[in-house]
């Protein structure tokens, strides 16, 4: 198992900080009413997607998730400006303005989508893994979902099928302790989600989701296992979201002490402080990096989204069904 090199850490710190600033900028754009609809943000959970996708082959492996999907899409390779344009509902957006925040898709980079129904992606991830196995590729299918999603029947059904058919799927549970305003102990019999997997006879592990080096180590083991053809794997990451569930959430149900405790375990700051302590960077380097990222988002991402064209009303019915499919009207040979 390899350790993250200093260069890796620099790259990942930059990327996590980028993700943080990207999401904060989405928040502002929402308040300015440039973005509408539901908006679920990722701050606090950055080390989860970053650690796992650093260990996997982003852009090669298939990734699927729920509605909190911007950062996962970007890490697969989706250009941030196209993700932002999607949030603005623009024609240049990842899903051509038809999907919105909860439905980012970028199939070029094998980001197979964000889905709004809790638990919906589980069987889809298993199906993708089935396809991989049939076609004999070395990709794996990675499904990122939350803790509360595990109370859907689709969770149990999917784990069972993944196991009986020995499919290359990695289930990543980002356990942030809440499903909207309901704390996990009020909805779920077992707090540690990895324990629920014992009925499906696959490796299941729980690690700290705030420390990217820990996530990376655990994810390497998981990814190697799945890629080597041994079947599915379940990885639980203990984490916390810093904002409300979505923009319409007052966040009143969480104790201040709990929030403060998790704020001290900020994944971006954990890595930053470790690098500063090791002499790999200075506080000034970090501040300069932060400024660079903020400028990059403003000039390269927001500007693009704002200046992009809207979809045309004449194309409202485009993408509903296949166009010019030879089997639709008859006469195909």
């Amino acid at each position: 198992m390899s350790q993250l090199s200093t260069a890796d850490k620099k790259r990942l710190l930059r990327s996590m900080l980028y993700a943080r600033r990207f999401e904060e900028r989405c928040y502002e754009a929402y308040v300015e009413r440039k973005i509408g609809g539901f908006l679920h943000l990722y701050p606090g959970q950055e080390a989860c997607a970053h650690g796992v996708l650093a260990a996997a082959k982003a852009g090669h492996d298939y990734v699927i998730t729920g509605y909190r999907d911007h950062v996962h899409a970007i890490l697969c390779g989706a250009p941030p400006r196209e993700v932002m344009a999607e949030l603005y509902g623009k024609e240049t957006g990842s899903s051509k303005g038809r999907g919105g925040s909860m439905h980012i898709f970028d199939v070029r980079y094998r980001f197979m989508g964000g889905y709004a129904l809790v638990g919906g992606p589980f069987p889809l991830a298993v199906g993708i893994a089935k396809g991989i196995k049939m076609k004999g590729g070395d990709e794996i299918s990675i499904c990122f979902l939350g803790d509360a999603a595990n109370n859907q029947g689709s969770f149990h059904e999917s784990l069972n099928m993944a196991k009986i058919w020995q499919l290359p799927v990695l289930f990543v549970c980002e356990n942030n302790l809440y499903g909207i305003g309901t704390r996990i102990d009020r909805s779920t019999a077992v707090l540690d989600q990895y324990k629920r997997v014992c009925g499906y006879d696959m490796p299941a592990k729980q690690v700290d989701g705030q420390d990217i080096e820990v996530v990376y180590q655990a994810a390497q083991e998981a990814v190697n296992y799945v890629r080597s053809g041994k079947g599915p794997y379940f990885l639980e990451l203990k984490t916390y979201r810093y904002r409300g569930h979505s923009m319409s959430d007052s966040n009143a149900y969480r104790a201040k002490e709990e929030e403060q405790e998790w704020a001290r375990r900020d994944p971006v700051l954990i890595l930053r402080d470790r690098m500063i302590k090791a002499g790999d960077m200075t506080q000034d380097d970090y501040s300069a990096l932060d400024k660079e990222i903020i400028d990059e988002i403003e000039n390269g991402v927001i500007k693009f989204a704002e200046e992009s064209p809207e979809p045309r009303v004449e194309e409202l019915e485009k993408y509903v069904l296949a166009e010019n499919d030879p089997y639709v009207r008859g006469g195909a040979k």
Binding site: G37, G89, G99, M102, A148, Q152, G153, T182, P311
Partner: protein, 326 residues
């Protein structure tokens, strides 16, 4: 008469029914401690406790089935599904258990549950949070489907739904929870069948339900003020069974019909009302009935496209003018 918001009217119905009968419970995601996404159960958790105001896991088919099972043995559950889009997951229990059990058991067992949920397209919630599913439920024998267009109906339909011995599906609307309207001060039971004339007129009948009643009323106003057309507006708050007699009565008076629905036209309310008109009063017609419906697309995220998908009062006016050759 008190002026209440739609959500307050719903909350009041819950509260009264729960106070009256200890076997009335309510259940759903985030309805207890959090008070409900649309505040429909606000304060009830503190008042009635966790045994009767139940925060469920995200297990729609599971908890809907639990509610239905409890109803077999005398409990009267009011089941909230946070958004009608999630009702797809509960469809098995709604269609295969609740709707069929009376028939399959030869009348021995019934499922007196109320299932209430917001449907409709709000603002940019995307394809998976904007479904209009009333027509799906209308197609299920054994299920009553109602859809309140105002706070009085929202209140009175829950009251009747809880007392009725059939499963009752109540289709509310995301955009209507803050709408105000008069609700009787005393207890009021809105009938689960029938229709209501929301505006009397003689030249054309505009059929609406839920939010589209309001588009019809706005259109009727414009038609009378600007075009001298006196439209009647019929509120089809009961979608299953539909009020055949009420539909025929109004069309026999105005001889013209426009059906306004928020959903796509295929297999929808409009298609069904047209069939009833054909069957009940075809020879009363002076013009072919017309539907005003949504475009047949999954709801787009982009606001301009979304608006272009869903009909509005102006579309109703245009359809009527076209019918009159204006």
């Amino acid at each position: 008469m008190a002026d209440l918001m739609y959500w307050e009217a719903i909350r009041r119905a819950h509260d009264e029914e729960m106070a009256r009968d200890p076997l009335v419970i309510c259940m759903g995601e985030d309805i207890g401690v959090a008070g409900g996404t649309y505040k429909a159960t606000q304060g009830l958790y503190d008042k009635y406790g966790p045994e009767r105001v139940i925060d469920t896991p995200i297990s729609e088919n599971g908890y809907t089935g639990v509610g239905i099972g409890a109803s077999f043995v005398g409990v009267r559950p009011i089941i909230e599904i946070m958004s009608v889009n999630f009702a797809w997951l509960a469809m098995d229990q709604i269609a295969n258990s609740a709707a069929k059990v009376r028939y399959m058991s030869g009348g021995q067992l019934t499922a007196p549950v109320v299932i209430r949920t917001p449907g409709g397209t709000a603002h940019q919630l995307g394809a998976q949070h904007s479904a209009r599913m009333e027509k799906v439920f209308m197609g299920i024998a054994g299920l009553r489907v109602v859809t309140p267009s105002n706070p009085k109906q929202a209140y009175g339909l829950i009251k009747s739904g809880v007392r009725c011995n059939d499963p009752v599906f109540i289709n509310e609307h995301e955009l209507m929870y803050n709408m105000k309207g008069e609700v009787p001060d005393g207890e009021y039971f809105h009938p689960l069948e029938g229709s209501e004339v929301a505006r009397h007129g003689k030249d054309v009948t505009l059929f609406g339900y839920n939010i589209s009643v309001h588009w019809c009323l706005q259109a009727a106003d414009v038609l009378s003020k600007q075009h001298g057309i006196d439209a009647e507006v019929v509120d089809l708050y009961a979608l299953s069974p539909l009020d055949r007699a009420g539909i025929a009565e109004s069309v026999s008076k105005t001889h013209r019909a426009v059906i306004v629905e928020e959903a796509e036209p295929m297999v929808g309310v409009g298609a069904e009302v047209m069939a009833i008109i054909n069957e009940e009063c075809f020879f009363e017609l002076d013009a072919a009935p017309v539907r005003v419906s949504a475009a047949t697309v999954p709801i787009p995220f982009n606001r301009t496209l979304e608006k272009a998908t869903i009909p509005n009062a102006n579309d109703v006016v245009k359809a009527v003018l076209k019918m009159f050759g204006k």
